[in-house]
Symmetry: C2
Subunit: 245 residues, 2 copies
């Protein structure tokens, strides 16, 4: 069993949308934050990785949301580096409320990047051993993401200074900002996501223009998304929605 | 002496920019959050205000920054409703680091809004008494804000779903996002603000287009900013900078 790590967090209003529910990009940011905290505690911090010329990159998030927490709630964030193979590391994350009920679960696929060569490296024992992850042979596939067939609209964004993280590229959670914002406020105020899958194909840099395209099936309550930059698909996402009560 | 209220906060990486310093809009959000927390504790929460048909609106922030805190730091946020007169309430905010050294100070001018009439109301005893603020006769002026003389550039933004707060208009901190982002990343990575004054003139709503204009004097290290929406000046700001070491 992989080592687990938890942190408590009280949700301030500014991490919530106009209806007082936790913003989706922030949900992802706070989970990724605790994986960094666990790595640091186990002696394999991002700084240590960087000293080896390595860094973690995120390939896909699969998120299941039972109930989005609200402003003021005290939640517990938990993570474990569940398993790994030669090229990938699979992390699990949970959000629980004060009663111990599960609010959300996220499964994330990480890879190791050789920062100098800018190509994927292998997951060496040295960096993974402290997590006590299960070593597996097979490649686990994330949720299948269906591409947009006919775009129903797009919004244009320019990457902002504050979108760029320590790695000098757009932080993975920012893509969800663009994805969610492509939909209309009227729809967003009356619906809440129950499942989100997002796959990252290509990094986006400061000043780049991006187009957030969407296709929404209001009947089936599914939206498909594409983030296009410099003519290439930088990220793809599917979101399964339900109506708010 | 007005009642003081404090909260501790550990800064996650995602509240910081690419150089690991606290984002300016988040600095403002976390301070405004604790004024809400104090109001709630003293029995005059936003919900109570709303039940009287009233709400607080922010007219100006004057921020002095001695040292911007960094990711991972544990800071203490403190506030007091320092004084008030018939129409305005003046709040003070501080950020201190773990050693008790002052990192930042903010003075904010609030007014009471009659939410039905959409016009300014008066600061009644009923809503201000619990704070034990000093009642004063004079109108205190915030820092003078010098207008742009010749715009050196502008960036265009469209108000996003996540920019809108509980009051269904753009949250005051979002204007600082637009203000800061109008400047180039190269300048922002090598400079840090020591003084910021921002004045809010007109609310901006979901879907509105805004233009963030700036004039930068690199010699004097002063930038002047205007946020223009529907042909009107929605906010104005001045920032005094110094070079990072």
């Amino acid at each position: 069993m992989a080592k687990q790590y938890s942190e408590k967090h009280q949700i301030p209003y500014y991490e919530c949308d106009t209806t007082q529910f936790l913003k989706i990009p922030t949900l992802v940011k706070m989970l990724i934050k605790i994986s960094g905290a666990q790595s640091e505690i186990l002696g394999v911090s991002d700084e240590y990785m960087a000293s080896l010329g390595l860094g973690w990159i995120i390939l896909q998030h699969d998120i299941e949301i039972k109930r989005l927490p609200k402003a003021g709630e005290q939640i517990t964030l938990t993570t474990e580096a569940e398993s790994y193979n030669k090229f990938f590391c699979y992390r699990h994350f949970w959000i629980h409320d004060e009663k111990g009920e599960e609010c959300a679960f996220m499964s994330t696929t990480f890879a190791v990047m050789d920062m100098k060569e800018r190509k994927m490296g292998s997951v060496d024992e040295e960096i993974i051993a402290p997590f006590e992850s299960e070593k597996i042979k097979r490649i686990k596939r994330g949720e299948k993401i269906y591409p947009i067939e006919t775009s129903m609209g797009e919004k244009e964004y320019t990457v902002r200074y504050y979108d760029i993280d320590l790695n000098k590229h757009v932080n993975n959670a920012v893509y969800l900002d663009w994805v969610i914002d492509s939909l209309d406020a009227k729809f967003l105020m009356s619906h809440t996501p129950k499942k989100i899958a997002i796959k990252f194909n290509k990094e986006v840099l400061y000043g780049d223009k991006v187009f957030s395209q969407f296709e929404l099936d209001e009947e089936a309550k599914v939206s498909k998304h594409g983030i296009v930059s410099k003519g290439e698909l930088s990220a793809e996402a599917n979101i399964y929605w339900h109506s708010k009560d």
